[in-house]
C-alpha cells in the first residue's frame, strides 16, 4: 500500500486583475475614512464657500464689476485652507498609521497586492476626501451663481478652472503631507497633531519672522501663505503679494513630490513587530 499527500484542487476561481484589486482597496479605504466629524467639516466648507461666492457675485453683479477676481472672495482669508486642513488631518492621519497600529497592514500586504498598489489606493482615497472640501465648494458656488444669472459664462468657466487648479494643488499638498506623516507613526493622533501643528506653526512662525525682520522669503515656508498667493494669481486679483506666485507654486509642487517619495521609501522599510 502506498500513501500520498492529497492533491490541492482549489484556487481556480475567476478573479479581477491588479487594477480591480486596487479599486477594491480604494473603495474600502474611502469608506473607512468616512466619519461624521469629517462629513460635518466638509458640509460646513460647502455651505460657507457657496454662500460667499453667491453673495459676492450678487453684489458685484449689482455694481457691474463682475470679473474672475470676484470669485476670489473665499480665498480672502485663511479660513477655507484651514477647513481643508482639518479634513486632511481627519482622513490622512490614520490612513497608514491605523494599519500600522492595529497591524492590519500585515493582512493587506500578505495578499497579492504590491506596496505601490497599497500606497496608491490609500493616497487616492485620502485625496478624494481632501478634494471634496478643496475643489467642490468653489465649483458648486460658481455653478449656482451662474445658474442664478449672476455670472457670465466666460467668468464662470474661468472661475471653475481657477477653483479646480488651486483645489488640486491644495489636495495634492495636504494629501501627500498627511500620508507621509501617517507612515512615520503607528498612532493616528501623532500624525494628526503633526499635520495640523506643523502647518499652523509654519504659518504663524513665518508671519512672525517675516513681520519682525522684513525677510519675506521666509513666507515660502508657510504652505497656507503659498496657497493663498497662488490663489491670488489664479484669480488675477493683482494683489501685491510679498512672495512670488510662481515660487509658491514650485514650493508646493516640489514638497508634494518629495513627501510622496518619503512615504514610499518609509513604507518599503516598515516592519511590523509584535507586542
Amino acid at each position: 500500500m502506498s500513501i500520498s499527500a492529497p492533491r490541492y484542487a482549489g484556487g481556480t476561481f475567476p478573479r479581477v486583475g491588479r487594477s480591480g484589486r486596487v479599486l477594491g482597496l480604494f473603495l474600502h479605504e474611502l469608506r473607512a475614512r468616512a466619519g461624521w466629524g469629517t462629513w460635518t467639516v466638509v458640509g460646513f466648507s460647502y455651505a460657507a464657500v457657496v454662500i460667499i461666492v453667491v453673495l459676492t457675485a450678487e453684489f458685484s453683479s449689482l455694481l457691474g464689476t463682475v470679473s474672475l477676481s470676484t470669485l476670489h472672495a473665499p480665498y480672502a482669508s485663511v479660513i477655507w485652507p484651514y477647513l481643508v486642513l482639518i479634513v486632511a488631518t481627519a482622513v490622512a492621519s490614520g490612513a497608514i498609521a491605523d494599519d500600522l497600529g492595529n497591524r492590519s497592514i500585515t493582512l493587506y500586504l500578505s495578499r497579492p497586492i504590491h506596496l505601490t498598489d497599497y500606497l496608491g489606493a490609500k493616497t487616492a482615497a485620502v485625496a478624494v476626501w481632501v478634494a471634496l472640501p478643496s475643489i467642490g465648494p468653489g465649483v458648486v458656488g460658481v455653478v449656482i451663481a451662474a445658474g442664478l444669472g449672476l455670472l457670465p459664462a466666460t467668468v464662470s468657466l474661468e472661475g471653475i478652472g481657477a477653483f479646480v487648479a488651486v483645489g488640486l494643488l491644495t489636495t495634492g499638498f495636504f494629501t501627500t503631507l498627511g500620508i507621509a506623516l501617517s507612515t512615520l507613526t503607528s498612532r493616528a493622533l501623532f500624525a494628526g497633531v503633526a499635520l495640523f501643528g506643523a502647518t499652523l506653526s509654519a504659518h504663524l512662525a513665518a508671519l512672525a519672522v517675516s513681520g519682525a525682520t522684513g525677510a519675506n522669503g521666509v513666507l515660502y515656508l508657510s504652505p497656507i501663505t503659498d496657497l493663498l498667493t497662488v490663489a491670488d494669481a489664479a484669480f488675477s486679483t493683482g494683489a501685491a503679494d510679498p512672495i512670488s506666485a510662481l515660487g509658491a507654486l514650485a514650493v508646493l509642487l516640489g514638497a508634494s513630490v518629495v513627501l510622496g517619495v518619503v512615504a514610499f521609501l518609509r513604507l518599503t522599510r516598515v516592519e511590523v513587530v509584535g507586542e
Binding site: 492529497p6 486583475g17 492595529n102 500586504l109 516592519e271 509584535g274
Partner: protein
Amino acid sequence: MTAVLEAVDATKSYGEVLGLNGFTATVGPGTTGLIGPNGAGKSTLFRLLVGQLHLDRGRLELLGHPAGAQGEFRRRVGYCPEHFALYDWMTGLEFVTGLLRVDGFGRAEARGRAGAAIETVGLADAAHRRIRVYSRGMRQRVKLAQAIAHDPELLLLDEPLNGVDPVGRAHLIDLFERLARDGRHLLVSSHVLYEVERLTESIVMISNGRALAQGDFHRIRDLLDARPHTIDLATPDPRGLARVLSGWDHVVAVEFPADGRLTVRSRAPETFYRDLPGVVVAEGIRVTAMRSVDDNLDAVFRYLTEGRG
C-alpha cells in the same frame, strides 16, 4: 512538489535581540506544527514569510518563492496572525469582505465567500455585529475566516487557538483537519504541544530562534507526560467547575488565582482537553477562555537545549 517552506540559516534581529538565529528547516506538504515557547521566534518566522519583516541573513522560501516577495503567488497563501489585526468599527462580514476584494474577488463573490467563511468558523450569528464587541475567541475566529475565505493552498496559522473557548477549540481543530484532508498545507504554530497533536505528527520545534528538532513529536510528548500540565480557565463559576474537575483522576491540583479564574494541573492533558467540552455542555458551566500555561513545555525545551549543548 517544491517544499512548502524552506529555511536556510534564516536570521532576523531586532536591534540586539535575535528573533530568528540561523533557523534552518524544511517543511513539506500536509500539516506541520511549529512548536515553541513564547518568544521562541514563531511569530517572527511567520512575519518574515508574509513579508512584514525583512531577513537579515540566510534564505527563506515559501511555495518556491522568496519570502516577502510580492505578487500573484500570495493568492495561494492564507495568513492568520497572532495579534488582532482588525478594524474594530467594522462588522466581521465587512472586514472579511474588504480583504477578499483585495484578493481580487468581485463585490458579490467577496460577500458570498466572506459569509461562507464566517459560517465555517462558527461566527454566523455575529457576522453583522461590530468587531469591537467581539470576545477574544470571536476575534480569533474572524481572523481565521479572512485567512481561509479565498481558498488558499497554504495556511499560515500563528497561534490560531489562543483564547478560544474549549468548544470553539474543538470546532476549529475539526476545521483544520478538514482543510488538511482537502489537500491544503497548514503550518500551525503553538506553544502548546497538545493542541497540535490532533492535527499532525510532523513538527518543527523552535527555541531561541533556532530549529531544535524536526519530525515526530511522540518522543517529546513522552517527556511532557511525566510532568503535570497547567491550564488556566476563565469562567463565571470557577468553584462549580473546580468541583467537577477535582473529581478527575488525572487532575492533581486546582487553584483560584483571581475572580472568575481557575488554574488546573493535570497529569493527562490530552484527556483533559478531550473531556472538558463534554463537561462544559453537560454541566452548563460557561468557560469563556482557556490557556495553557507553558511552564512544562519550557522545561522540556530547556531539557532539550541543555541536552544538545
